[in-house]
Assembly symmetry: C2
Homo-oligomer: 144 residues x 2
DNA sequence: AATATCAATGATAATGGTAATCAAAGTCGA
DNA sequence: TCGACTTTGATTACCATTATCATTGATATT
């Protein structure tokens, strides 16, 4: 079982890129953060301990984490990309509360299977997918 | 069975808004266009016969069509919103080819049902959802 | 038909997330 | 240690979307 720090180092080496302090600090902070954070979220969090790290580096490193398979980019329709660590061999989709922003994760193997059937029926090769349910979480529906 | 022109007129009246030539021309052109068009697509198409209509009006009218239930806004991850006419009582989701941009529509009632079960299990009230499968269409997978 | 009121239009500027630029600094193999 | 090449961080550019505002238009009332 490879650590994600090792995964990043291997990826950088493979691509002829360089291991830098910034990249390792950003990776560590990203993994420690609550999930589904935006570039801004992470940049603000980083500034507390590492005020020298620039916004552009945070942005570029998040893209790098996606390219290396450590992170996945999500977009929940609020106009800014969000990132979360890839959970080993566990894909999930999301319920998103329009009122309070709560994000609930779910796994539903039957949906995944039906998806593949749909794709197969159209001779379509799936590379990725998004499945998001928007509405009100239980707390917010009660308050209405 | 109400025409969509009538639907728009009723909506405008209800909201104290005004029926204008621009709005009716944009509606007609939108309905005649191939589906999943961006604001730009529609604006360029309109310019041929109606060069006086401004981009801002096209943008505002598309938002109006969404608000009145005539159109639905989609976002397939290329950074620009796309619009398509709502098909009477027929929801569908999408397969999107990353290579050629082909968009295939699908309906899968079993997925819709499972979605509702997932939401119910979390006491979540669904208002809308997106389900998109990205990958290669049959033609593009053969060419690879 | 003329008028008054309020909304719509269209040219243009502002916004905001993302991505490109570039000089200075850093990495790492030779 | 040196040198080739990459990274960094400040800044600017990009681009879809949205706001602004003076002018024009729609509609109800007279
Ligand atoms: Mn998640
Ligand atoms: Mn469609
Ligand atoms: Zn909520
Ligand atoms: Zn294709």
């Amino acid at each position: 079982m490879k650590t994600r720090k090792k995964t990043l180092r291997d990826y950088l080496q493979l691509k002829g890129l360089k291991i830098t302090n910034q990249r390792e600090i950003i990776l560590k902070t990203f993994l420690d953060s609550r999930s589904h954070c935006s570039t801004d979220d992470l940049y603000i969090r980083l500034r507390k301990k590492h005020p020298k790290i620039g916004y552009a580096t945070v942005h570029r490193t998040l893209k790098l984490l996606v390219a290396s398979g450590i992170a996945i980019e999500q977009n929940f329709g609020d106009g800014q990309a969000r990132y979360e660590p890839v959970q080993d061999n566990h894909h999930h989709d999301h319920l998103i509360c329009r009122e309070c922003g709560l994000i609930i994760e779910f796994e539903e193997p039957q949906i995944e299977k039906l998806q593949h059937q749909v794709a197969a029926a159209h001779q379509f090769t799936i590379e990725s997918h998004r499945h998001e349910l928007y509405g009100l979480c239980s707390r917010c529906s009660h308050l209405k």
